[in-house]
């Protein structure tokens, strides 16, 4: 984005986030699919809260559960090994 049209607008507009699992029923939540689950985890390996991820309560619960199961199997980290700063 070379031009920033949003700059003129001072008030924030809050776009209502929709749960992506509700929108696309083909999207499955699976503890074995760590690549999808990685989208719901911060760089530090923390689970992204619902107010940010936009998931509905039901799917957030499932995502959380799947992440925790994946962590147990060492498919996802509890604490990632970050490069030394």
């Amino acid at each position: 984005m070379p031009v920033m049209p949003r700059r003129k607008r001072k008030q924030f507009y809050v776009r209502r986030k929709v749960c992506r699992f509700c929108v696309d029923s083909k999207l499955a939540i699976d503890y074995k699919d760590s690549n999808t689950l990685r989208q719901f985890v911060t760089e530090r390996g923390k689970i992204i809260p619902r107010r940010i991820s936009g998931n509905c309560a039901r799917h957030q619960r499932r995502v959380t559960r799947a992440i925790k199961q994946a962590r147990l199997l060492a498919l996802m980290p509890y604490i990632p090994q970050l490069p030394p700063t």
């Binding site: 503890y31 074995k32 199961q69 962590r71 147990l72 199997l73 060492a74 498919l75 980290p77 604490i79």
Partner: protein, 167 residues
């Protein structure tokens, strides 16, 4: 009978024979404990997200089976005894199992396992587009659309998944 799936994480530092014998052992335990093994999905060696029992590598196998709660109990007892199993995770997929459908699924899996080696070499030769085109032409009855497409078009989608695997 209930449908379960288990992920076994075998110590990845062990030689292949050891890993294989561990997998065989647990497959046998499923059958001997009133279970019915539907299929094994071998994920191979992967890097663990953190160190377990002093290693960073694990050999992952997904076992899909039907059984009773006693089957799972017996399996889990054995996971704890066996040092080669580093982690395990069992999930119940369904409470009821249709035995006939299960037999059909086992047969389908056995069949799918055989044509796979034939299908696998076809997309493999990416560097040379000429043989790939020749192979596509030699199997027109299987994929008429793929054969009809131009060789460049057929080669292009094959090249994209390759780097993803290497990562």
């Amino acid at each position: 009978m209930r449908r379960y799936e288990s992920v076994w994480v075998v110590n990845g530092d062990l030689p292949d024979e050891e890993v294989k014998s561990a997998i065989d052992k647990f497959s046998r335990i499923i059958s001997s404990a009133d279970g019915l093994l539907v299929g094994l999905d071998d994920w191979g060696r992967r890097k663990l997200a953190y160190k377990i029992k002093g290693t960073h590598r694990g050999y992952y196998v997904l076992a899909d089976y039907a059984g009773t709660p006693a089957t799972v109990k017996e399996l889990e007892r054995n996971y704890r005894i066996d040092d080669r199993i580093v982690r395990y995770h069992t999930v119940k997929k369904s409470d009821q199992v249709d035995l006939e459908a299960l037999q059909a699924e086992i047969a389908a899996r056995a069949q799918a396992a055989q044509p796979e080696p034939e299908a696998a070499p076809a997309p493999a030769p990416e560097p040379e587009p000429a043989p790939a085109a020749a192979e596509a032409a030699s199997t027109p009855e299987v994929t008429p659309e793929a054969a009809a497409a131009s060789p460049e078009e057929a080669a292009a989608p094959e090249q994209t998944p390759a780097p993803a695997k290497e990562e």
